[in-house]
Amino acid sequence: MKLTKTLMTTSALTVAAAAAFAASHGNMAGSMTLVSWGGAYQNSQTKAYAEPYMANNPGVSMTWDESSAEAVAKLRAMNEAGNITWDLVDVEAADAIRLCDEGLAMEIDHDEVLAAAPDGSSASDDFGDSIISDCFIPQIVFSTTVGYRTDLVGATPPTDICALFDLETYPGKRSLNKRPIANVEWALLCDGVPKDEIYEVLATPEGQDRALAKLGTIKDQVVWWSAGAETPQLLADGEVVMGSTYNGRLFSAIAEQNQPIGMLWDAQMLDYDGWIIPEGLPEDRLARVMDFLKFATDTQRLADQAAYISYGPARASSAPLVGTHAELGIEMAPHMPTDPANSQNVFVTQYDFWADYRDDLDAKFQSWLAQ
């Protein structure tokens, strides 16, 4: 059978070719693997940092891995296997703290590694409170906040966070994060706990039960989400009348997709997102990453990023440079969670509190969910 012979020969050839192809595609000089969240956020990083950097450094190529959601687990596995394939990883602040504690992320001297502000003040002054860990290089401030369907909330759209718990004025389903963070703070606030005492109350078992009891008043009306894209989808479908999600997702649904959605800034939960460098990178890769990092977190780059997504730059010196949306041309400053008009009443995520109580509260919350 001639046909079979030809088939066998070609298959042998393709296998050999594949082996050669695979060998030549191993870590070639000047390539970097960046880990991020995908979607509009990763797009903003590509446009604001990666493309300008590659234009200046034609020898460097970048590969994006959309694995930030499981970054902690993957970095643990890489560390155990002794095979670190990532060069720079975008994570939420809480994950950065965990990675730093476990020795999976590299501690850095922010003033030495990062560029100073244009006025000469040091990087650590410029980033200020957003440096929540020695391993963490902040990029943006984002917030978890509430969006609502403008056509389903009647004549008086909600203005404060307690609308979430007001089933009489705003009947219908709500979508909330399937984790306690933000939910329990809002529950206590709306149950009459003064804002500055919330974390004290939440540290006690009675306070935790009180928060869950308040959430229990709307439990049968809640759709629980686990990915940030779910609430905009549910709002667009009209499946829920209001729901919590990240402010950038709401901006995108409102301004870019023209959905009948409005948003609350009241009691928004501010949090940081930024880079960490995996511990144990070889010398040449580390040098490459450091060079990119210095460029990607300077004042202008962080301000540029705001043209693509409505998250606030983590540097104080970037705020005045925030311009207009890259496609829509609208001013972006009023859509930043850090804008003074939006930050009248904010929560800043209490990393120390959550580091101590996260496991307990998570377990309690999950068993409450299952009841």
């Binding site: 594949a18 880990v35 296997a81 095979n83 989808q233 959905q259």
Partner: protein, 394 residues
């Protein structure tokens, strides 16, 4: 001479009851989309039963044609009033269906294709069985069908917008297809999938066929144990194989390489090939290889010219399974691959988790199309080869 079943007119209340039940069933869906399921059932039952009763009791058999047209018109107009253009189409379909159904039941036409000696219970079972099969098909197919129109959504959500439901062209767009064909991420994923799946298939087919032939000859020691080990990737939970491969491949430098992903997928595909080829080897007559050897052919020639052509159907279907396994696989590639080897399923998985973008639906629609074409081609080839070998008439 065969005795033919006759269509005998049934009593009007019987027709009214059966048609009413069908009306009530459809009423569930109409009712659900208009707010009240219970009301839908009730109204559906009453309307359908009344129509059947009128047709059977009041009108004559000669009035069948005018009655059917009248019903079609009435329900269509009702549909337009309730739901605009989509209501028109649904109304026309319902109207035609009920016109036919009323006379089919009322005139006893359902008896015609069946043998005359069947009891009423057997007739009922005959049609309920068919209904059941139909319902199962609908249940299996609907999720796939729903995806297709949604992929033409002009918005970036998984939502049937009012424009789409009104068949307004502005509600539809090809932008998600455009996104798929122009985005470097999706194109890279497509390219990786198209490189990895065929290579993994070739490897699994070559090794799997050889293993099956070896394991089916009787003088090989520990055949059962070897077989069990070889097909274990099919039995062990995927996540465990994946984690094991990850740590093993990391140590030997294969993690994050194209070769590593190809080898991992080949390991997953081999069990399918072994099983299908072993099954065809059962029907293979060993005396043919002895005859070939007797005539001076060496084992390799015997394999390619005698054995291979006869077991080819098993090899091909095993290869198809191996291909689909690799092409659909997401768990192992996430572990063994790195960002350079992102395949289509990986891209769809992360896309669904982070974005919920209809681009995924566009890709899914394209993949469904490709799968249908692939299966059709394979089925046609199989029939052709059976016909050529005289295994089936026609």
């Amino acid at each position: 001479m065969a005795i033919e079943s006759q269509a005998i007119k049934r009593p009007a209340p019987f027709a009214a009851g059966v048609v009413g039940a069908a009306g009530g069933f459809l009423g569930i869906f109409v009712g659900a989309s208009n707010g009240s399921v219970l009301l839908g059932i009730l109204v559906g039952f009453v309307l359908a039963a009344a129509a059947a009763f009128v047709a059977m009791q009041v009108l004559d058999e000669g009035m069948e044609r005018p009655f059917k047209w009248g019903l079609l018109g009435l329900i269509t107009v009702g549909g337009v009033l309730l739901g605009g253009l989509p209501g028109l189409i649904l109304g026309a379909i319902f109207g035609w269906l009920f016109g036919w159904f009323i006379y089919w039941v009322g005139m006893g036409r359902y008896r015609v294709p069946l043998p005359p000696y069947l009891t009423a219970g057997q007739v009922l079972w005959h049609y309920s069985f068919r209904m059941l099969c139909g319902v199962i098909f609908v249940f299996l197919i609907t999720p796939i069908l729903v995806v297709m129109p949604l992929s033409f959504n002009a918005q970036d959500f998984f939502t049937f917008t009012p424009e789409m439901l009104a068949f307004d062209p502005a509600g539809y767009s090809l932008k998600h297809y455009k996104d798929f064909f122009t985005s470097t991420e999706w194109q890279g994923a497509l390219r990786n999938s198209l490189i990895i799946a065929p290579l993994a298939t070739i490897l699994s087919v070559s090794f799997g066929t050889l293993a099956a032939i070896g394991l089916s000859s009787e003088h090989v020691p520990f055949r059962r144990a070897i077989m069990a080990i070889l097909i274990s990737p099919m039995i062990v939970p995927l996540i465990i194989s994946a984690a094991g491969m990850y740590f093993f491949y990391s140590r030997i430098g294969l993690q994050g390489t194209l070769l590593g992903v190809v080898l991992a997928h080949a390991a997953l595909g081999i069990p399918f090939v072994i099983i299908t080829v072993t099954a065809t080897l059962v029907g293979f007559d060993r005396s043919l290889t002895r005859a070939a050897a007797n005539m001076g052919a060496d084992p390799v020639t015997t394999f390619f010219r005698v054995q291979m052509p006869l077991i080819l159907p098993g090899v091909i279907s095993g290869g198809l399974f191996a291909f689909i396994t690799s092409f659909d696989e997401v768990v192992v590639v996430i572990f063994v691959g790195s960002a350079n080897q992102q395949t289509l399923p990986w891209q769809m998985f992360t896309g669904l988790r982070e974005q919920i973008s209809p681009t995924i639906l566009a890709v899914a629609t394209i993949l469904v199309g490709i799968s249908i074409c692939l299966l059709t081609v394979v089925e046609m080839l199989r029939r052709r080869s059976e016909r050529l070998r005289g295994m089936s008439p026609g």
